[in-house]
Amino acid sequence: MKTLAELSAIRERMKNKVALREGESNYRIVVGMATCGIAAGARPVMNALLEEITAKGLEGQVHVSQTGCIGLCQYEPIFEVFHGDEKTTYVKMTPEKAKEVIEAHILNGKVLTDYTIGEL
């Protein structure tokens, strides 16, 4: 490395990764991963979320974590999107739907009401 620009490039690349440890992010997605969730296919949904976040370059802005049973086992796989004080609950998710949520909700700020719990 011979220039400051190269140093800054490494910093930008690493900053998002280390930012995970500050516990602060724009969006937080929590996937229900109790037995009911896993049986209904939460794992592929989670994988799809992680892949799509990487693909869209959103690492560092979105944290993905898991939780136990949300209490609505018949609607699993479920994930909740937290943004500030807002909470949006997406139900009966599939990997394809999960990717749509990332695209529409996280990237463009548009809640996909067709998939939220309010529509059921």
Partner: protein
């Protein structure tokens, strides 16, 4: 995408309590669970709460697991990492909240709340063996800034304006030190040295910085090199710090690979290289002239000053020598400006100070607080107070060169000048807390015994004077002291302080003087009443069985290793004081509280 980072402390404390095996086991379990692609295990430096080690933190939740064992790892992986359920029994109880799995942030706990982490900012946050993580938290930006935007004189002025003083003990203004060595740049060979020969008993802040954030020291040394016009640096580190040495070696190698050390850094024509020198663990080598003599390959002995190192230092060339913690503040001063740094602390002591809390305190560990924080806040709030309901008696700062602060001065704001005014000193930052069971004469003897061992022997006042002082203390502890001994010690101490060659001898009598000054009544109890009020000095104690309470169970007689207790079954026993070795086995075994120490 990596969705979760599991940080494991890889400092000396947690490594000793098993964090290395935990890391291996964790990596295996994560692989078995098929989570390798989404969870990253990061080994970091010290978090500070060494008492609770081995420590593990899971992000982004920020769950703080304490006292983790290898057996706990499968549960953490299958419950927390796979299913997102916090393993409550392992969570640091101060961060637990009733009825929810959400944990409180660590910064809200009493241990961290009052801390302000500057020198320790990256310890427990980044992987010290990965230079890119350091760059990700603004690493090497300060070096880039000084090389491309600032003149060497501006760098020195910035450090001067910040008010930073040496964190190794003396408290000399760092900027001034740099200024003295800055003349005739480019025409003479100069050196930048780092004192990592941390020798005070109980002090481990420099080790933790080297283990947790080695690059910050390298970067600051390069900045210092630019400021004074030096292109070579030496880090003198104790051979007893294997983890710190390993991480420094890795860091120096990586910095070379990234072109952040070596020739023509950032294409500015500035060259800087750093070499490691291992010390064999002689306390005197923490003294600047002895340290440089040792780097030169000679026996570690001090030499008279002047000439000061800024004029004639390592290999006879102008040299600056700063301590690890001092360097750890430099990059932040450059990036945030001197006013930012000067806004913290007291009038003459700016910024923060790291303390190694030890002794009779609940949260043994490493804390960093703004200068001017009171001893009470450090001991009672951050340190969690004294365990077992005992009373605070004194705090020892400054190691073998320092003194004891009695309970009556617990509200003193800690800074360089206040500590000197009350007869102690900042030192490198060891803070040993003592409760009512501590004998101050014994403490003075402990530190003096240390300096007698560590005196290099070059000058007579230190070599012989400290030995004589120790002999008087031994006499007092053995119950053979006289009142005149106290005055004699004070007189002798005065001569040792004024006539010794280096800082070791000049400060060696301080523990005796400060305890004599603050706890003279304890000395008097030892020499006049032949009693040790704290019940520590064995020669002044005897054990007795209270006949009324003794049930004659014979347990003590059977446990006594020297058969000093006699008596028949169901009759009161007695102790033969001429045989008793005062080991205390009888007291700890008696079920009726019938044995007392007087």
């Amino acid at each position: 995408m990596i969705r979760s980072h599991v940080l494991i402390c890889g400092g000396t404390g947690c490594s000793a309590s098993g964090s290395v095996n935990i890391r291996t086991s964790l990596e295996n379990e994560i692989a078995n669970a098929g989570l390798t692609q989404e969870i990253k295990v990061v080994q970091t430096g010290c978090f500070g709460l060494c008492e609770l080690g081995p420590i593990m933190i899971v992000y982004p939740e920020g769950t703080f697991y304490s006292r983790v064992t290898v057996e706990d790892v499968p549960e953490i992986v299958s419950e927390h990492l796979l299913k997102g359920r916090v393993v409550r029994r392992l969570v640091y109880n101060e961060t637990l909240q009733e009825g929810t799995d959400e944990v409180k942030s660590l910064s809200e706990t009493s241990f961290y709340k009052k801390q302000k982490r500057i020198a320790l900012r990256n310890c427990g946050v980044i992987d010290p063996e990965n230079i890119e993580e350091y760059i990700g938290v603004d690493g090497y930006q300060a070096l880039g800034k000084v090389l491309t935007e600032m003149t060497p004189d501006q760098v020195i002025q910035t450090v001067l304006d910040s008010g930073l003083r040496g964190r190794g003990g003396g408290g000399f203004p760092t900027g001034l030190k740099w200024k003295f060595a800055s003349g005739n740049r480019g025409n003479v060979q100069k050196y930048v040295c780092c004192n990592a020969d941390e020798g005070d008993p109980g002090a481990f802040m420099d080790r933790s910085i080297l283990e947790g954030d080695p690059h910050t020291v390298l970067e600051a040394m390069a900045i210092a090199g630019y400021a004074i016009g030096a292109n070579e640096g030496y880090i003198y580190v104790r051979a007893e710090y294997p983890i710190a040495i390993h991480r420094l070696e890795v860091a120096i190698k990586q910095a070379h690979e990234y072109g952040l050390l070596g020739d023509n850094i950032f294409g500015t024509g500035f060259n800087f290289d750093i070499k490691l020198r291992l010390g064999a663990g002689a306390f005197v080598c923490g003294e600047e002239t002895a340290l440089m003599t040792s780097i030169e390959g000679n026996r570690g002995e001090p030499r008279p000053r002047p000439p000061f190192p800024a004029v004639k230092g390592l290999f006879g060339k102008p040299t600056i020598l700063n301590n690890v913690e001092t360097y750890a503040n430099i990059t932040q001063i450059i990036l945030n400006g001197p006013q930012w740094f000067a806004s913290m602390g007291t009038e003459k002591s700016k910024g923060t100070k790291v303390f190694a809390l030890g002794g009779k305190i609940k949260h043994t560990g490493l804390v960093e607080v703004p200068m001017g924080t009171t001893l009470r806040e450090v001991v009672e709030e951050i340190g969690g107070g004294i365990p077992n309901g005992k009373k605070f008696k004194a705090a020892q700062t400054g190691g073998p060169s320092g003194g004891c602060i009695p309970a009556s001065l617990i509200d003193t704001p800690i800074d360089y000048d206040n500590l000197v005014a009350i007869g102690s000193m900042m030192g490198s930052g060891g803070l040993i807390v003592m409760d009512e069971d501590t004998c101050m004469v014994d403490i003075a003897r402990f530190f003096l015994d240390f300096t007698v061992d560590e005196s290099c022997g070059k000058c007579t006042p230190c070599r012989i004077g400290t030995k004589r002082l120790l002999e008087i203390l031994d006499k007092i502890i053995a119950g053979k002291g006289e009142l005149s001994d106290l005055d004699e010690m004070e007189e002798l101490a005065k001569y040792i302080k004024s006539a010794s060659l280096c800082g070791l001898g000049q400060t060696a009598p301080n523990p005796v003087l400060s305890t004599l000054n603050r706890f003279r009544d304890e000395y008097i109890a030892h020499v006049v009443d032949k009693k040790c009020p704290a019940g520590v000095c064995k020669s002044l104690l005897h054990y007795e069985i209270i006949a009324d309470k003794c049930k004659g169970c014979t347990l003590c007689a059977r446990k006594c290793p020297v058969a000093a207790i006699s008596g028949s079954v169901k009759e009161a026993h007695t102790i033969d004081v001429s045989k008793c070795i005062k080991c205390g086995v009888c007291i700890s075994n008696c079920k009726f509280g019938a044995i007392v120490k007087k």
